[in-house]
């Protein structure tokens, strides 16, 4: 009697999970079908003739190509900057005993959780005041700053796990702090660097609001904003192309997720901060 009840429970649990899974996948179906359909509408329908035409149309448009290049420039620029600057900052925070380490780390942790949305209006005002709006360079710099708190936090935790003894030998031989960071610590914390790099790139690639506010010239916009403008201009007619554009734009995010998955657990312990 008890046995069969446990079995019924198990079946029920599996059914509920499958149902939730199906519900989660249904919204995606339209995007996949429409992207391969030459006559896509908003209705969910399996294409009568599967075609790659929508993808070619999006990829062959120089404006779209440009938006992908811009996106890569911004995201890559931000990731490289964040990794270097956060890596440098993490070093003394991990290695030296600094008087103001605690307040500094608290400020960093505090800043990780502030919603960026809340400062975008004053950031825009600052950019206008400094005459640096509509610039890929300055937008990238701002994005790098906004990604720093989280990156410093993660980097410091990774660096703490690199034994200091390894460096001490190098220091005794007269190596500078910078060269021991570069030659000894950095190679040993490659997982940390990858985590920060991948997460920063993915976050940047998906960011719409920041370039939407800070960049105006269409040829400077990254894919996240160009796709939105495409939707505004042709979205109500060219559904197939919109879906194809969406898939092309989503692919890098998926690839990065797969790459980053091996380091994922780190992010989900709240940067190693919570236990119990």
């Amino acid at each position: 009697m008890k046995w069969s009840r446990a079995k019924a429970d198990t079946i029920l649990v599996h059914l509920v999970l499958v149902l939730i899974g199906v519900v989660f996948v249904i919204p995606l179906l339209w995007m996949i079908f429409a992207a391969f359909d030459g006559n896509a509408t908003l209705a969910l329908q399996v294409p009568q003739h599967w075609t790659l035409g929508n993808f070619w149309a999006i990829l062959s448009d120089p404006a779209n190509q440009r938006s992908f290049v811009n996106g890569v420039i911004i995201s890559l620029g931000q990731s490289v900057l964040v990794v270097i600057v956060a890596g440098l900052a993490a070093y003394p925070l991990s290695r030296y005993q600094l008087k103001y380490k605690r307040p500094f780390m608290y400020t960093i942790l505090f800043s990780t959780s502030l919603p960026i949305t809340a400062v975008m209006v004053p950031v825009y005002e600052l950019f206008v005041f400094l005459h640096i709006t509509d610039s890929i360079f300055w937008t990238t710099l701002f994005l790098a700053a906004s990604g720093l708190p989280y990156a410093i936090w993660i980097m410091k935790n990774f660096m703490d796990s690199v034994p200091i003894e390894l460096e001490e030998a190098a220091w005794t031989d007269g190596a500078s702090a910078f060269s021991s960071l570069r030659k000894i610590v950095a190679p040993l914390m490659l997982p940390g660097i990858s985590t920060v790099g991948i997460f920063t790139f993915a976050g940047s690639w998906g960011n719409f609001f920041v370039p939407f506010i800070l960049i105006q010239t269409p040829s400077k916009l990254p894919a996240s904003v160009t796709i939105f403008q495409f939707f505004g201009q042709y979205g109500s007619v060219e559904y197939g192309k919109l879906a194809a554009f969406s898939i092309l734009y989503t692919i890098p995010a998926v690839v990065l997720y797969v790459l980053g998955q091996r380091y994922m657990s780190t992010g989900f312990q709240f940067g190693g901060a919570t236990k119990g």
Binding site: L17, M31, A43, S113, P115, T117
Partner: protein
């Protein structure tokens, strides 16, 4: 802010990089300088500017654009007389409570609990489907749900099986639509947080509770829930902060409309600052957002009980 490195207080003296100990304060500053500069200019200055501009009549057009002046609490006085502001506060709370606090949190916990101790392959198969929504960039999530909720779209197609007439959901039920879209996009985060938390619950305790006769539900409520309450609180804070800042999804799905029916604070802030060019008033709204964020962040910090 100045940094002083003081000699390590205990144990044997460790060699410091470069061999010199009294210069390490300077060295620390050199390492920290780039991050301080970036954070100061692009993070802390804008926060300070928020406090300043919120008390001005800064605007991009009209007479006040020529002479920006300090107007005291006038923005806040008009805010509390502004019916749209009141609406947007309510909409923000509704969006927050139903999409994050209830939706993502409960669904994420449910998924993690149900998936716990299932077969590995089955677990990851379901996990991938949920995570797909999380990996999808916010703007694409908006397009997907635009098609899903449109008149004759995916939802109507499925409902036509039950002979339900097609409805333009984004017009008929805009708030419900954006809430569902945000749950789809955000649930994976809570799910993964709870999967990690459940993995830390010792099996022995659950087993001994089972031997003592506690049923599945009792074990969950009496043993598992108390053990993961730290994660629940932290997750709650994090998704609250994330959801508070949601702009892209709502802006591209409904633009805050129809009427003001999905006008959350970020959308209203954007509209005031960039569509109506009332930057001062827009900043005052972002100050409210910022203060809510600051308070929530402090609560979050207290909860973490971080050891540095």
């Amino acid at each position: 802010m100045a940094v002083h490195a003081f000699a390590k207080s205990s144990g044997r003296r460790k060699p410091l990089p470069g061999g010199a100990s009294n210069h390490s304060g300077w060295r620390a500053i050199m390492f920290l300088l780039p991050s301080w500069l970036l954070l100061a200019v692009f993070f802390f200055v804008p926060i300070l500017l928020t406090f300043y501009f919120a008390f001005t009549n800064l605007s991009l057009t009209g007479t006040s654009s020529l002479a920006t002046k300090f107007i005291g609490f006038q923005n806040f006085v008009s805010m509390f007389q502004d019916p749209t502001f009141r609406i947007s506060v309510i909409k923000t709370i509704v969006f927050l409570v139903f999409s994050a606090v209830i939706g993502q949190q409960v669904l994420g916990l449910l998924l993690a609990v149900l998936m716990n101790e299932r077969h590995r392959v089955f677990r990851s198969a379901i996990g991938v489907l949920v995570i797909a929504g999380w990996v999808t960039p916010e703007i694409v999530v908006a397009f997907i749900f635009y098609a899903f909720f449109s008149d004759g779209g995916t939802l109507d197609t499925f409902l036509s099986v039950f002979h339900v007439q097609p409805i333009a959901w984004l017009y008929a039920f805009p708030m419900v639509s954006v809430i569902i879209a945000n749950i789809w996009h955000g649930t994976a985060f809570s799910m993964m947080v709870y999967q990690a938390a459940l993995g830390d619950v010792p099996k022995e305790i659950l087993e001994s509770a089972a031997i003592d006769g506690a049923g599945r539900f009792q074990r969950f409520v009496r043993v598992t829930l108390p053990m993961i309450k730290g994660s629940i609180a932290t997750n709650m804070m994090l998704i609250t902060l994330q959801t508070l800042g949601v702009f892209t999804l709502i802006y591209s799905l409904t633009g805050g409309g129809p009427g003001n029916r999905t006008m959350t604070l970020p959308i209203y802030m954007y509209q005031q600052a960039f569509s109506d060019y009332q930057l001062g008033y827009g900043t005052a709204i972002s100050l409210i957002l910022l203060i809510i964020g600051i308070v929530a962040s402090f609560v979050y910090l207290r909860m973490l009980k971080v050891k540095l």
